[in-house]
Structure formats: C-alpha cells, structure tokens
Amino acid sequence: MKPAKFEYHTPASVDEALAILGRYDGEARVLAGGQSLVPMMNFRLAMPRAIVDLNRIAELAYIGGDGDVVRIGSMTRQRRLEFEPLVAAKLPLLRQALRWVGHLPTRSRGTIGGSIAHADPSAEIPMVLQALEGEIVARGPQGERRIAAQDLFHAALTTSLAPLEIITEVRLPAMPPRTAYAVEEFARRKGDFAIAAVAVMLVRDGERCTKARLATAGVAPASIRLRDAEAVLEQKGLSEAAITEAADKAMTEVDPVSDLNGSAEYRRHLTGVLTRRAVLKAIAPAT
C-alpha cells in the first residue's frame, strides 16, 4: 500500500522542529530514519497529518565523549555507530548489539534516537540503553530534561516522552576497560525481529562480580532489566551454580507474549538459555 497524504516539513533546527510540532497539537509525527515509521505509514497503521523530518538537522548527528560518558546525537545513523572507533573502544556492547539491528541497508538510515523513541519490544538499542544504564536528553515546549533508561520504557511502543518532545541526545556511560560483555539473540533470520535477546555487562574483581547488568529484548512489553538475575551474580559470583541460578531467575522475571514466532513459554525458556549463554560468552577467555 501507499501512505496517506501528509504535510511535509524539513526544519533546520530542533527549535524549528518543536515549533512546527506544536502547531499540529499532537497530530504530527517526527520522522527520523523511517525504518519503522514509514512501513507503518505504508500500511496506513500510521496516518499523521504532518511529518516533521529531522534528517536535515545537522546538529543532531554526532558522536562525542568527555571521558566517562559517550554522547551521541539522536539522529546519528546506526551504521555510523557500527563503524565508529569511539564506540568500539568505549561501548563494545553497543557495537556488538548493532550487528543484530536490522540489516546493513536499514542501519544506513536507522538512527539511535529513532529506535529508542519507537520502543519496539524486540529492539536491541533500548536493551543496550538499559544494560548500560544510559539516559536520553529530550527537548520539548517546557525545555530540556534527562530521562534515565529505567524510567523511559513503559510498554510496547510506549515511552515516557511527552507528545511534543524530541530526543536530542543519547548518553551512555563508557564501559570501564576489561568489562565483560555479550549479546545473545535468537531470531529466525539475522536481522529479523528478536524472538528473545539478552545483553550482559559484568565488572569483575577477581572471583567476584562487583556489578552485573542484564537486559532483555523480545520477552516483555518493553526492554527490562533482569534485576533478580543481576543480584544473584553480584552476591554469588560467576560460578557454574550461580550462573545457572541467575538464568533460572531470569526466566521468572520476564513477561513474554505468544505470537506467530513463538509461544510465551518458548520465549521464557529462551530467556534462560540466552542469559546463560551471554554470561558464559562474556566471561570466556579471549580467543
């Protein structure tokens, strides 16, 4: 099918974009990379009165860092992040997860901010934002505010962003050197929506695990942290028994749905399997 008619705007700045959005009183949609919104418009699942295209706003595409935090403009393409040395050095978990985000031709257009704002339950970038405890910067009529990952994702395709707010920046804490990390995902075809995925970040001190962060995709209405599993690893370390217990906990924390790609029980099972695999992969000696 073809999209319904809409009025088209190409603001050159965030201020201009916000002014245009305000004029439509919630009936306009922001267009970032378009890899989710345009299919919805082609199917006429979305029929916005106007499109505010952010693709001409140069100030929203950048990657920068001042030591502990990597700052990424919301319109930065996923593909640029995939090949960016700063991401490889400071956010290797994000880099690994990006290989699971759609395909190279969709990553050419898809943006980090668009993926977060869309909040697909199976999307990998929200999962990374959760695992790394990142935050976003949003601007709206009332000015600028920061929203932590744990306060952002409410339900499928639903965030705590206000209708007239735009994500301008994504802030991810740089991963300390020697942080163990891994992404494990199961999908029918690489690049398809995740049936289940788990991202793991572990900070170790000898035999102990001083910090464990585990987050999911595909197994709850929105990406969630596996806090019980994290607690097991932080209290009991990374022994075989502790990893098994954490994986069992993970299965009880998720809230999956059944659909064509898998039943809720299957997704729950996969959560345990992928949690275990991700932790083992993260702590495996480098080859």
Binding site: K2, A4, E7, Q35, V38, P105, R109, G191
Partner: protein, 166 residues
C-alpha cells in the same frame, strides 16, 4: 490537499528532476517519474530488499524513504552498475554462477552485495550469507548467489590490488 514538491537529485551520475507529492515513495518516484524501472518493488515495508539502492553511497531501502527526502541526494540503481556493454564484476559473477532465476530480487541483491563488499572486501561464506540476508530470494535457495558474491569479491579485490612493480 497536499502540495506538490520539486525534487532534484542525481541518479547514476546523471541529474534528474521531477515533481511529486511528499507521500510518494522514493522507489515509485525512481520507477514512475524517472523511468528507471530496474529497481523493483516487492513488499513495500522494508522486508524483502528488492528496492535496495545506494543512497549517498550506502545501501538503503527505497520503499522506506519519501522521494522528497532525496532532494540533492546521489543515488545508484542497478542501471548504474554496468559500463556500457561491460557488466559490473558482480553482474558478471551472477551471470556465470547462475545466481538468478526469475530475477525479481536481483537488482536489490546486486546493490546490497555491492555495499556489503565495500564494507567487507574479503568475506567468509558465513559473512556473505549474513551480508545478503537483507534481500529475500524465492527461487535460487541462495547457494549460487553466495558463490557469485564470493567470486565477485575475488575479482574486485584483484582489480583493486596494487600492481607488482608499480
């Protein structure tokens, strides 16, 4: 009533201009307004990859963009691959390895493979399979496409390698 916009862009090195509504998909603009029907349109929601083109040098789904977004852009479509009668190494390899049957996915497959080889000039078989996974083919079973991309990669590497004694 939606206004009509003018779109100026470059396709395969040649300047074009046309007029369309903002809702017109880039793939429809390329096919209907510019008359370049080599790019195919399949699913219209970003899954099949038949409409893959190079947008400012990078592969992208032309069914997931509006033509107005291509204002000032440089596109490469399948028509831009051959030089006159001389096929592009990828096209030659697809021909030699019987990597197409009905040919519907082929324009997208060639462009996706071109972009993939630009990012990974010496891929393993697994990497090729992942690289072309963005385009669906219902005829070949992919085996011959994988062979063709591997062969083209070798040809393109040899063509780009510094000559001995140069």
């Amino acid at each position: 009533m939606s206004e009509v916009r003018e779109v100026r862009l470059t396709v395969n090195g040649k300047s074009y201009q046309g007029r369309c509504e903002p809702r017109k998909l880039l793939v429809d603009f390329v096919r209907e307004d510019l008359g370049l029907t080599g790019t195919h349109i399949g699913c219209e929601h970003g899954i099949c990859g038949a409409c893959t083109i190079l947008f400012n040098g990078e592969a992208a789904r032309s069914c997931l963009m509006f033509a107005v977004q291509a204002q000032g852009a440089e596109l490469v479509t399948v028509e831009g691959l051959a030089k006159g009668d001389e096929l592009h190494p990828l096209q030659q390899a697809f021909h030699e390895h019987h990597a197409l049957q009905c040919g519907f996915c082929t324009p997208g497959m060639l462009i996706a493979a071109l972009d993939f080889l630009a990012t990974n000039p010496a891929p393993t078989e697994d990497e090729i399979r992942e690289g072309i996974s963005s385009v669906l083919c219902r005829c070949t079973g992919y085996v011959n496409i994988v062979k063709a991309v591997a062969a083209a990669a070798e040809t393109m590497r040899a063509a780009n390698a510094p000559k001995l004694g140069a």
